[in-house]
């Protein structure tokens, strides 16, 4: 059915950590080549959802498909680029060493990755800092390097957990431009965010609260359906008037 047209499919996914249920019957589908935003406050289950998509976590019940294949699957990891919320970098190493290591782990050949490393570093505006140790990087630079590492192996699916935290507005714009370019080239991108103005930039949006998907659609649809002027207003509407814990 949907698997023909959608890149990522979650079907009634539940996830428990011990007794605590963090995801309740989450079903969503992300079309190919779409930039899909997952919007919600911290602690709502966004990260758990994307980790299930990335194949790091496994749902307690329900199915997850990426590129038509059931997750988790070890060989699928090559098709997915994952950028975690925290910068997962070896600070003792230079950016080049970090990238080379992950390129080798992804099974890329040396000639292939040498070129690709320069490409991705150019893309995130870090070409001049390639040989600096990561410990000398600023917060924003680390974030950009993390992004470079996520796209290093040319993944078909890109999963970014809060990618633009700590990045200045100008560079944020550049990164979004890059994301658009990649999606035009057929890369499916899933972005989590808790910033409303960033959510508007996504092609499609899912709103999440307390482990439940409360609304899905294009940003315009979500606003128009209830006559809200902003996404923030829409979010408040769909989430009900309960306050976050």
């Amino acid at each position: 059915m949907e698997s023909e047209t959608s890149c990522i499919i979650l079907n009634k996914v539940n996830k428990y950590f011990g007794d605590k249920q963090v995801l309740k019957d989450v079903s969503m589908s992300v079309p190919y080549g779409c930039i899909y935003g997952l919007l919600g406050p911290s602690g709502c289950g966004k990260t758990t959802t994307v980790k299930i998509m990335a194949g790091i976590l496994e749902s307690t019940s329900g199915e997850t498909y990426v590129l038509g294949r059931k997750m988790p699957q070890l060989d699928m990891m090559n098709e997915i680029g994952y950028m975690a919320q925290s910068d997962a970098l070896y600070t003792m190493l230079s950016a080049a060493d970090n990238l080379e290591f992950f390129a080798a782990v992804y099974g890329m050949k040396k000639a292939q990755y040498k070129k690709r490393i320069l490409e991705v570093m150019e893309l995130v505006n870090l070409a001049d800092d390639l040989n600096k140790p990561v410990s000398a990087y600023s917060g924003g630079m680390k974030r950009r390097l993390s992004l470079a590492m996520a796209i290093l192996h040319n993944p078909k699916v890109l999963i970014l957990d809060e990618p633009t935290v700590g990045i200045d507005p100008l560079l944020r714009q550049d990164i979004w431009k890059e994301l658009y370019k990649m999606s035009e080239n057929g890369v499916t991108i899933l972005v989590t965010t808790h910033v409303m103005d960033e959510a508007v930039k996504c092609h499609r949006l899912a709103m999440m609260r307390r482990g439940v998907l409360i609304a899905q659609g294009t940003p315009d649809e979500l606003q128009n359906r209830i006559g809200a002027a902003t996404i923030e207003e829409a979010f408040i509407h769909y989430g009900g008037d309960e306050h976050e814990d």
């Binding site: 194949g55 070890l74 080798a104």
Partner: protein, 341 residues
């Protein structure tokens, strides 16, 4: 391929972190040197209170590096108490009575030997007579206090074990706390490749470490060694490998560097007590058999002091290898906590 990349990365990280590298390579040497000097001191100022003895005996004492101090019996007791003298001696009708401070075994043994030597040099005394045998009375401590023998071989094993355990454990823990483990698990790398890669990466360093320590102890500290140099190096390396895999395994159970340090008194310290540093009663000695360091110390002892070959340490080697393998498998399984596949 992936294993090699991981091992190379660990080496590169260590190489960039000069202090940690220095700690792995030099700290065991430093500690070994210190222990060597502490346990190997020759006692230079041996003072003995002489209550009553012929002039010749006193001169003989001089010749045996003992400084005699003339005193009365009650003065001698006082001086002994204040640790001003190591022993007091009185000779009554040819029989030597020695009161000795035995709280420091090394010193007591040294001073007794010197006094015995002094007595032997007296022609007036007939050594054969049983009733003239010196009567030694331990005032403090006892003559059978555990001697620190075989310490050289034991400490090589222990120090290598300790430093490797600590550094591999903490660095594997950092992989987790820094989020890089998660990033690593988002790639097609297998869990067992991560464990094997770590073993190879740190293993390379420990090969160098084992070689340096073995050469240092045997050629510079000149510790008793009659067996094969290669076997000593091999056992040292095995000790490091066991420590490496155990450190990594336990770091999975720790949630911070601080908690990793807490494993030292639980995992490391008891191993020192139960692996030959002290003479234990048979019931307690059994406990040692459950500790990896016991087999390291046993094998090193056999090779270095008894000069035995591979055949006699085969069991120790087999046990250490299986322990390493066991810890690695357990670690691979424990990593399921972070990714099931």
């Amino acid at each position: 391929m992936r294993i090699k990349a991981l091992a190379m990365r660990i080496l590169r990280q260590l190489f960039n972190d000069k202090r940690t590298l220095g700690l792995i390579l030099c700290a065991p040497l430093l500690v070994l040197t210190l222990i060597y000097f502490i346990l190997d001191t020759t006692i230079t100022d041996m003072k003995v209170g002489v209550v009553n003895a012929p002039q010749q005996y006193i001169e003989n004492l001089y010749q045996n590096n003992i400084t005699p101090v003339r005193c009365t019996e009650s003065e001698a007791a006082q001086l002994l108490k204040e640790e001003k003298i190591l022993a007091s001696v009185k000779m009554i009708s040819g029989k030597v009575y020695i009161d000795i401070d035995g709280s420091n075994t090394t010193k007591a043994t040294a001073v007794l030997a010197a006094m015995e030597q002094a007595k032997r040099g007296m022609s007036a005394l007939q050594q054969e007579r049983v009733d003239l045998k010196s009567e030694i009375n331990y005032v403090y401590g006892a003559g059978d206090l555990g001697m620190f023998d075989n310490f050289g071989s034991l400490f090589i094993g222990f120090l290598v074990f300790f430093f490797t355990f600590l550094i591999s454990g903490i660095s594997f823990l950092q992989e987790r706390t820094s989020g890089t483990l998660e990033k690593l698990l988002s790639t097609p790398i297998k869990r067992r490749d991560i464990v094997i890669g770590y073993i190879f990466g740190f293993g390379t360093v420990t090969v160098v470490q084992s070689a340096i320590i073995t050469f240092y102890v045997i050629y510079i500290l000149d510790v008793m060694m009659i067996g094969s140099l290669w076997l000593v190096m091999f056992i040292t390396l095995l000790s490091a490998m066991t420590a490496l895999s155990l450190g990594m395994l336990l770091s999975t159970a720790a949630s911070s560097e601080f908690q990793m340090i807490q494993f030292i008194p639980i995992v490391i310290v008891p191993q020192v007590f139960f692996t030959g540093l002290f003479d234990l009663s048979p019931e307690w000695a059994v406990v040692g058999k459950f500790m990896p360091l016991y087999y390291v110390a046993d094998a090193l002892d056999k090779v270095m002091i008894r000069g035995e070959g591979m055949a006699s340490i085969a069991l120790d080697v087999a046990l250490l290898l299986s322990l390493t393998l066991l810890f690695m498998i357990a670690n691979t399984l424990l990593l399921k906590r972070y990714r099931r596949i």
